[in-house]
């Protein structure tokens, strides 16, 4: 844990008397930059994010396809021959229709087609945008809410702590996927209405909010424990003794010390949230069609496992790579910002 409350002595003219030492953030950054695993993970993540962000460019200018439009009777050209994207079986009794498999041609059904005749690679890139967006947004919301709850509960204690802690206990008491599935099923039927705020069933905000909410206790609990410890530290007592307001103490003394922990949580929660999103979408209760996420593409591929396994495997591989990279990066950030490793395994 890093404490950033050290007042730097200044000269009468207001200039530093000695050369200022490297700040804790710079130290942490330097440490991460010298960690090859962290750098490798960061590079992998940057590539994945960049490629996914380029999905519209790929679909429009390279693959010339609309990955959200069914193309059941469409054709494409392979080796100079026009072939149907979905092909009627001709062997035996001629039952069934199969989408074309990977062509390994980057401009033409690179990973083949799905059962709607859509380009799987284009959908994989679009799906990545959705999954990363949900993972990142929900991780931010979750960490912000978790930090807020943890700080308030830990600092004020008493009845406030009791109420908030019991609320977290209640959420934590549910198996996390059961809670997510229940919320999703209810909200995806009619959307969410909170007074004038209406969020439609197919709005991505729904999975973002659901996933963020169910993981709040995972962040709030360790933060609360940290705040309970900080509250008894000398610098906080000194601030109280000097008559600082609660708001000032929370902002200057507590939040600044808790922030590194929250930052450590973000990549870890992002990985966890991406997996949760994919699980919900796989169960058809996350991202709603025709939107794509890696989970929905795995679901699309479920019915093609025997004939076109690439449809399900490709997003699975992307998920694994991204989640592993996020976890490795998260570990490195934790090692850099929390050298005592109090949070190891917290999430």
């Amino acid at each position: 844990m890093v404490e950033v409350t050290v007042a730097i002595a200044t000269s009468e003219r207001g200039t530093p008397r000695s050369r200022r030492s490297a700040g804790p953030w710079r130290v942490a950054f330097t440490q991460i930059a010298h960690n090859p695993v962290a750098v490798g993970s960061a590079i992998a993540l940057v590539i994945i994010v960049a490629v996914c962000l380029a999905a519209p460019l790929y679909a429009q200018f390279i693959a010339h396809t609309d990955p959200f439009q069914s193309n059941i009777n469409g054709t494409t050209v392979i080796d100079g021959h026009s072939v149907a994207v979905l092909q009627q079986q001709t062997q035996g009794l001629g039952l069934g229709v199969e989408p074309i498999g990977p062509t390994w041609n980057i401009s033409n059904y690179f990973l083949g087609a799905d059962s709607q005749g859509r380009d799987v690679f284009a959908r994989l890139l679009y799906g990545g945008r959705t999954t990363l967006l949900i993972g990142f947004s929900s991780a931010l919301i979750c960490c912000a809410l978790g930090a807020l709850v943890g700080i308030i509960a830990g600092y004020f204690g008493g009845p406030v702590d009791w109420v908030l802690s019991r609320l977290m206990d209640i959420i934590w008491a549910f198996p996390v996927y059961l809670l997510a599935i229940s919320l999703s099923v209810v909200l995806l039927t009619g959307g969410l209405r909170l007074g004038p705020i209406v969020i439609g069933p197919s709005n991505l905000l729904l999975p973002i909010l659901i996933i963020a909410l169910i993981y709040v206790p995972y962040v709030a609990r360790p933060i609360r424990g940290q705040v309970l410890s900080l509250k008894n530290r000398e610098f906080v007592k000194a601030a109280i003794g000097l008559g600082a307001s609660d708001w000032r103490i929370l902002r200057i003394e507590i939040l600044r010390n808790v922030l590194p922990t929250v930052i450590v949580f973000i990549p870890l929660m992002m990985a966890l949230n991406m997996l949760t999103e994919s699980a919900l979408s796989f169960l058809s209760i996350g991202v709603q069609p025709p939107n794509a996420s890696w989970g929905t593409i795995i679901n699309d591929g479920l019915d093609l496992l025997y004939t076109r396994p690439a449809v399900a495997i490709a997003p699975g591989i992307m998920l694994v790579i991204t989640a592993v990279a996020l976890n490795l990066l998260g570990d490195a950030v934790r090692d850099a910002l929390d050298p005592k490793a109090k949070l190891r395994g917290a999430a």
Binding site: F68, Q88, Q91, G92, L93, Q116, Q288
Partner: protein, 562 residues
Amino acid sequence: MRTITKTLVSVIAAASLLVLAACSSETSTDSGGGSSGQHTGGTLHLTAQSAGGTLDPQVNYTLQYWQLYQGAYDGLLTYARVGGKKSEDIVPDLATAMPKVSTNGKTYTFQLRKGIEFSNGKTVTTDDVVASFRRLFKVSSPNAGSWYNVIVGADACLKTPASCTLNGGVVADASTNTITFNLTQADPEFEAQLAMPFASVLPADTKAKDEGTTPIPTTGPYYFASYSPNKALVMKRNTHFKSWSAEAAPVGYPDEIDETFGLTAEAEVTAIENGQADWMYDTPPSDRLSEISSKYASQTHVTPLTALWYLGLNTNIAPFNNEKARQAINWAIDRSAVVKLYGGTSLASPACTILPPDFPGHADFCDYTKNGGNTWTAADVDKAKQLIQQSGTAGQSVGVVVQNDSVNKGIGLYLVSLLNQLGYKATLKALSNNIQYNYIQNTGNHVQMSLTQWYQDYPAASDFLRVLLSCASFHPNSDSSINIAGYCNTGLDAQMAKADDEGLTDPTAANAAWGEIDKAYMSESPLVPLFNPKLIDFTSNRVSNYQFSDQYYMLVDQLWLK
């Protein structure tokens, strides 16, 4: 003396044989059907993803169990339990012969066979028949109000089921062993409705409530020995059964039939390939079709069904309260694409009409195909867009509700894509198979477009047109409103009543009339016919003697086991 004694013994023996033969003729009016010993025996293993609900034949309305009821329950009449077209013939079952019908068509008199026993050993009597029809109302059988409401006294039974007596409606005469049905009006489909499992004859002391998982004694070759919806259903030979008719009640071949629940469709296919199961109730998943059709062609049986997959367009709310918007959908749907999503041309044919091909009343026409003609050839999206512009509904939101299995969801995705292409803002709602059908029927859910299916109950045009589109089938805010389009046209209702009357005297003319009614409905487009499906039965390599009944599909108990 000795000679006299021998002669006397011979005479007495011959007389005894004659008496026995006379007695037995009361229980066997024809040869009795049957299984020859060489194919008899073994346990037939069936498998299904899930159980089919209650086991009560007067309540259950699933093909899954109707198929099994054929080897278990009997009514006064039944559909011939044979393969091919003859399976559409109604034959006497517990009745000795077809009923005597009065000239005004309002009275049906049956003679009950003697000597038939339930699986609990009790003899079937006329009291059981009367009690069964009372019970049909007491348990609120699904079609009590639509099929059996023509029986005198049915109105009172529908109002207060618990005190149902059907006084004057179903009259038994134990002395002559006859049962007479008195109807409030002539009904050309009454015999067909009596041949349905709802009209099964059950012991008179059967509780007047849905028996759920408790088996009710049977009259057929098998009885239900146990039923656990999470595990398995077991049928065993009914030792009290003696076949009285090869057509109506043939002897079954397997000694035991069990149906286990819980496997996925993928696992079911694998189990059959490995010989661990003999048949699967569910349709094989799409990614296994090519495998079974090439490697297991001799074990795969594909049969056209008298069934229709269609879109219900809610005619009471925007945008499909506009006729042009409805017609636009009929023009725009690429039926060949939908057929592909179902499994290809070997498994379905594009549909233009509500009545399936080769069905009574079917007329060949295709109002919504690009190049005209009697068969569908191509969609006309330009014409559809033009109609949508004229209707002023472009840009409106449309919710599509489908079941959440892969085929239904695949078609739903295509529909959303198409609707967006046509200028609507479409969203897909995929609901569990258990709730979608009731959900789309209820107008309170404001479903605009839904994908569903209709499989015939019995071969009659009214079983499609009246059931799916008559005013009487539309019940606002009810989960049981099978007229999903909510379409009510009193003029066409009157035409259907007229066709019904015509059916009593001139079935050919009546069928022609039904064809015209089909055409009239299609011009209004309350629904969009998509395709007529075919059924795949995938059996293990130890199974033979596969027979397909148009009414109840594969004759389960007529399979031979190696």
